[in-house]
Symmetry: C2
Subunit: 408 residues, 2 copies
């Protein structure tokens, strides 16, 4: 019998659509990693009757319920009251909870406002869950057939409480075989193609999930304890195509490329036309990028291509700014100018305007100049402007990754 | 009596947390703009009994229910079946629906795969809702006390169906006073400060909502028909501080700055150290940026500052790369190099490493060089790396905006 869980996200700003609920997807992933099965996610606003009803219903349906939000000190924070009403018990002040709230304020050298005292109220019989990063303690309630957890809605406070307090309690209650998740990160591979290549891969104890985080595709192998996750990963990589899998359990492509450069003691510089700084931004997203990234030129106007990267004006006039020759000249020019191991050049027509019959919207030329010469790729991208740009960034970074692999 | 609505989002990938549900917030906003009140949002997976139960419950609770997802052609698309079961009617093929699906394929010059025929099945008595952008038609069902709408989960297909088919039907059924929403976009203003300044602004027929989209804060005035939204907006702008409100109903800061430049027939170029291309990326997010953006330098290494922007090496040695003088020299240097009306220079320590006692993490110098000289601002930012960078981008763009306002 699968152990099912429900999630309740409480907050008028979620219900009204002002904020997107990111807590539920995160909590769902954590509970699934223990082997639990998701039942339903419910979002309710700041209305006592609604919260009470959804809690009672969820406790009927599921064996585990995690509810976030509504534990603040203001009058629209009603989850405590709704929980007490749903369980048919009164609220009582928790001395331990009050001490924790007072301690939070003491550590910030501020007096506790009297309004915050209400946050120490718990349904009688509930178990206090400490919140080390905020003033709203959480609590747990057990109906016998269902464990309910009440946590603050602030992700930064909620997440460590799930990991340190919720997951261990759930694990202790149910005999769950923890599953291992192997994350394969792919680029230059459509989600539908990944799905086709992985068709039939599932077997007892192994399920496969997909997540498109454009232009990256993540393939997740959920593997029961006792099975060889590494061997399964190898088998999946062979199916997906080794060149498409840029990382197993790693960070995003730019960080994989950055780590490769750092390990090799090499550097890169960029000359970006259409992508206009997006490659340099990604390369510097993680701290420490100055180890391998020297700088770059954003060469939107043709004069900038000539001035920053020494692309001859007559070459641009003859071949056009979006051309193989200009992409190569940008890569070589910025590499020479910066004295870096590698130089990347990108020029293209992201759209929606600017296309011609010969060079339609989506035309892209990328080049990577390095110790062994210049690699070049030409593509025709089919997406809208921002997707064309983000796939251009990924393909250029991957061109550098492939070039480094060739020179290992 | 308020007219309440429920939203049901169907899809295993939403329930499992692989994808974040953006449909429900969007639909919620649209229905609220008609004057309806949100009741509950439920997310369910690909399980017939779950979908059936949530539909029956929602129809009990609400006067309007919008359900998205589960209308595709594969065996895990179960919303049609669940709806028929919930309403106690069989599924029947809709000749009109089938003709629409066949027409979609004809217009794409492809034959209709036999599996897609199932998408023409509707609960007997349901009203067909045409999907002009995809193969999954929607349908409407009326229980007498509740109107239910079933739409595809693909946002791009679903949104026009809501606007063209759902909202008019809801408006015709209920006598609703439409409310106007005035969107004030603010920068350099914390959400809590915005909230304090707007305290007491609400009055009969006027509610205020906030949305922090870091580092921007949006203040929304929801105004009943018959009240003067423009006058209320003026009053709110005066409270929030005129210099903080960069747009009323506009796009993001970079697009406002771009539009100002375009109208003035002026140009800008950028010299970015810590932000490493993020400013040029934002300025080029909308098409047509070549009207006003010439190019820029990403000057991560000190040699790049000297080489691309002519910042004297001895100035960097004397004052440090993160200093007022270097920010000014970057702005002036790139402006002279590119021949643009304005030049932006940014240098800072985004963290988490790289700080010193004299120049701690978060130190930021930004400069804007223009026809009237150079404006400079120094700040100490308190956030993590990526937030420090995104607020640096916004503050630099806002420095340019303020400089342009001074020279109107």
């Amino acid at each position: 019998m699968p152990v099912r869980f429900d999630i309740v996200s409480q907050g008028e700003e979620l219900l009204s659509g002002q904020n997107v609920d990111t807590n539920a997807p995160w909590i769902s992933g954590e509970l699934q990693s223990l082997g639990l099965v998701p039942g339903r996610v419910s979002v309710v606003g700041d209305e006592l009757a609604s919260i009470r009803a959804v809690l009672a219903e969820a406790a009927q349906r599921a064996s585990v319920v995690v509810c976030t939000g509504g534990l603040g000190p203001t009058t629209d924070d009603l989850t405590r009251d709704a929980a007490a009403a749903a369980f048919g018990v009164p609220l009582e002040e928790s001395a331990e909870g009050l001490a924790q709230i007072e301690e939070r304020y003491r550590s910030r050298l501020r007096p506790m406002p009297p309004t915050n005292r209400v946050q120490a109220l718990l349904p009688r019989g509930a178990e206090l869950l400490e919140n080390r990063l905020g003033t709203a303690p959480g609590f747990a309630w057990d109906t016998g057939s269902c464990m309910l957890f009440f946590l603050p809605g602030v992700p930064f406070e909620m997440r460590p409480m799930v990991i340190q307090q919720v997951l261990p309690r759930v694990r202790a209650r149910f005999s769950l075989e923890p599953r291992r998740t192997v994350l394969l990160r792919c680029v230059s591979l459509a989600e539908s193609v990944a799905g086709e290549r992985m068709a039939g891969f599932e077997r007892p104890g192994v399920t496969v999930g997909y997540r498109a985080s454009f232009p990256e595709v993540q393939v997740k192998l959920h593997v029961d304890a006792g099975l060889d996750g590494d061997a399964l990963a190898e088998e999946a990589i062979a199916r997906l195509g080794r060149q498409h899998v840029f990382g197993v359990g790693t960070g995003p492509l730019a960080s994989v490329v950055g780590d490769m450069l750092r390990e090799r003691g090499e550097t890169v510089s960029t000359a970006e036309s259409c992508t206009a700084g997006r490659i340099s931004a990604e390369l510097t997203a993680a701290a420490g990028a100055s180890d391998f990234f020297l700088g770059g030129a954003v060469v939107y106007a043709n004069a900038a291509k000539t001035d920053f990267c020494g692309v001859p004006a007559e070459l641009i006039a003859r071949e056009g700014a979006v051309s193989e020759s200009v992409a190569r000249a940008l890569a070589e020019g910025v590499r020479a100018r910066m004295g870096s191991t590698w130089g990347l050049g990108v020029t293209g027509i992201a759209g929606p305007g600017g296309g011609s019959e010969e060079k339609p919207v989506g035309t892209l030329h990328i080049a990577c100049a390095g110790p062994g010469g210049v690699d070049h790729t030409a593509l025709r991208l089919p997406y809208d402007r921002l997707r064309n740009l983000s796939v251009s960034v990924a393909l250029t970074l991957d061109l550098l990754r492939q070039a480094m692999l060739k020179r290992t």
